[in-house]
Amino acid sequence: MTGISVLGALCFPYMRRGWLHYSRARDGLITVDDPRHIAKVANRPGPTSPSEIEQLADTLIRAFPAA
C-alpha cells in the first residue's frame, strides 16, 4: 500500500458560511470549511479498498495513541 494522499482541513463548526465561500487554500491541499463540507472532503473518491482503509486506520491508531 503506497502513495496514500494526505489532505489537511481546518474545520469551523460555528462559522457563518456564505454562498460563495471559497474553501481551498495552498493549491487545494488545505480545506477551510464547516464539518458538513469537510465530511465531503473526507469521503472523496479514490483507489483505496475497504480492507486497505482498515489497515491504514490501524497503522494510524498505533502511530498516534489516544490523547
Binding site: V6, P13, R36, N43, G46
Partner: protein, 531 residues
Amino acid sequence: MLRPQLILLDIALTFLCAAAGAGGAWLLRRRSSLSIRNLYPAAALAFALIAAAIAAQSWTAMMMLVLCRGPRRRWLGAGGGSRSRGGAAQSRALAPVDLAARPAPVRARARVSPRSGRTRARAALALSGRVRVELFGSTGAGKTTTARRVIAARTLAQRAALFVLDQKGDDEDVAQMKRLAAAAGVPFILLDSQDPGTDRWQPLWGTPDGVAARVVEPIRQSEPYYYDTLRRHLDIVCRVLHAADRWPPSVPFLIDCCQPLRYPSVLAIAEQLGAQHSRLTRRTLEHGRYVHSPQGIKDLSGATNRLEVALALAGRQLVTPRVTSDGQAVAVRLVEALQQRAVVMWRTHADTMRDEAAALSVLALADLHDAAETADAPWTLLLDEVGAVIKMAAARGVAILQRGRSHRGQVIVITQSAADPATIQAWQQGAGGEIATARELARRLRRSVVIVIHDRRIPGRGRANIDHLTVGRGGVTVIDTKSSRGDVQITTAGLFHRREQLLVNGRDRTASSTRSSGRSPLSPGRWIDAP
C-alpha cells in the same frame, strides 16, 4: 523684550517636542495596534490642564501634571516613613487568626493605610462556598500546606463535607485526612482503586435518567459517537431495571446489562412488567430490533467495551459493593456522605494509570455534581495535581466549579502550572467545537467506508494533538477544529508576493492556523506509505 537666547531656546524646545511626538507616534505604530489619533483628545486635555495650572500659578499641580506623579508626602510636609509606590505599604508580618472565633479568613495580612496610618486586617484567603481557590507553584512552594489550612478551617469551623481527589496517592495525605476527620468527629472514607481493603463506592443512584447520564461520562469526551449510542441504550436498560425494582444497579452489573448478548434478559424482564409499564415494554421491544441488527451489535459492543476499559477494569473492585457477613451489599453514596459531612478521599494513581485515573476523576466529579444538588450541605472539593487529568476532566471540572458557586461548595485547585486553571476554560470552549465536529462527521459519514479517529496524541511533541483523522477511499484527511465563530474567508494579499490569508471576522489568523497544522507530522500534500 525678547532676547535671542530665549528665542533659540523656544525653537529648540519646539523641535524637541516635535521629535518626541514623532518618536512616540512611531513607537505606537510599531509596538501596538493603536493609532496616534487615540492620543489627540488626551494631549488636548493635558495641554488645557497645564495652561490652566500656569494661569492659576499652581506650580504643585503643574509639576504633578508634567511629571505624572502623585503628590509625595514630603511635599505635604510629612516625614519619609512609608516607602512604597502609589502610597500603599504592606507589612510582611502574617498574623494568625483564631478560626473558631472568626472563620472567614484563614490568615490575615496586616495592611497599613498610607493616608490614615491605621493598621487593618485583610483576608488572604476567604472561606466561602462561593469563592474558588487556585494554588499554583513549583514543588515545595507550599501549595498543599496552604490547601490543608483552608480545608481544615472549612471542615472544623464550618462543618463542611470534604472531598479530596488525590492523583498522587501519598500515604501522608491519607494520614492527614484521617486526623482531620477524627478531629471533626465525622466519618473518613478512603476509595483506592488499587487497595481492595478500602471502602466501596456506589456512583449510581437517583433516577434512571441521572444514572444513564452519569455512567457514560467517562467516555463522553473521548468517544462522542459511542457516547450517543450508549446513552440511548442505557436509557431503556435503566428504565427497565428501575421498573422491575432492581435498582440501583452496581457499575459492573449495569455494564454487563448493556452487552447486546444480555438484551434478551432485559427484554424478558420488561415483558414481565405490569400493564402500567406497557409503553416501556413496547419501547424495549422496538429497541431490540436495533440491538440485534449488525450495526447495533457492532456499536453497542464497541461502546460497552470502551466504557469497561475506561472505568471498570481499573476500578472494578472500587465500584463493586462489598457483601457483608449478613449478605447485604454495601457501598458509599456521595449524597449521604455529603449529608453526614464526611471526609472522602479518592486515590487515583495518575502516575501509573493515567487514563483510568482520568475516568475515575470524571465519574467522581459527575457524582459530586449531582450529590451537591440533592444534599443541601456545605462542601469543599480539593483537586490535587489537576494537571494530570485536566484534558479529560476539564468539562466536568468547569461544571463542578459552577455547581460550587450555586450549591455551597468551595473548590480548591492545586496545580504546578499557572496555565492549567485557564486551560480548563479555554479547553472547554475548544472541546465544544471538537465535539460538534465529531458528531457531524459521524452523522455524515455513517453510511460510508470512512473511518474517523478522534483526538490523537503526537508522540514526542508534548501536548500537541490531532483533533480528527479520517481514512477513506481518497486517502487520509487531518482535521484541526477551530471554535471561532463568525465569518471565515480565504483571501490573497500582497502586490508582488501574493500570499494567502485566513481571515476570521476580518482578522488575520494565518499564523495561528499554520502553527497548529505545522505540528502534525502528517502534513498536507505529503504522501505516506503504510506497511
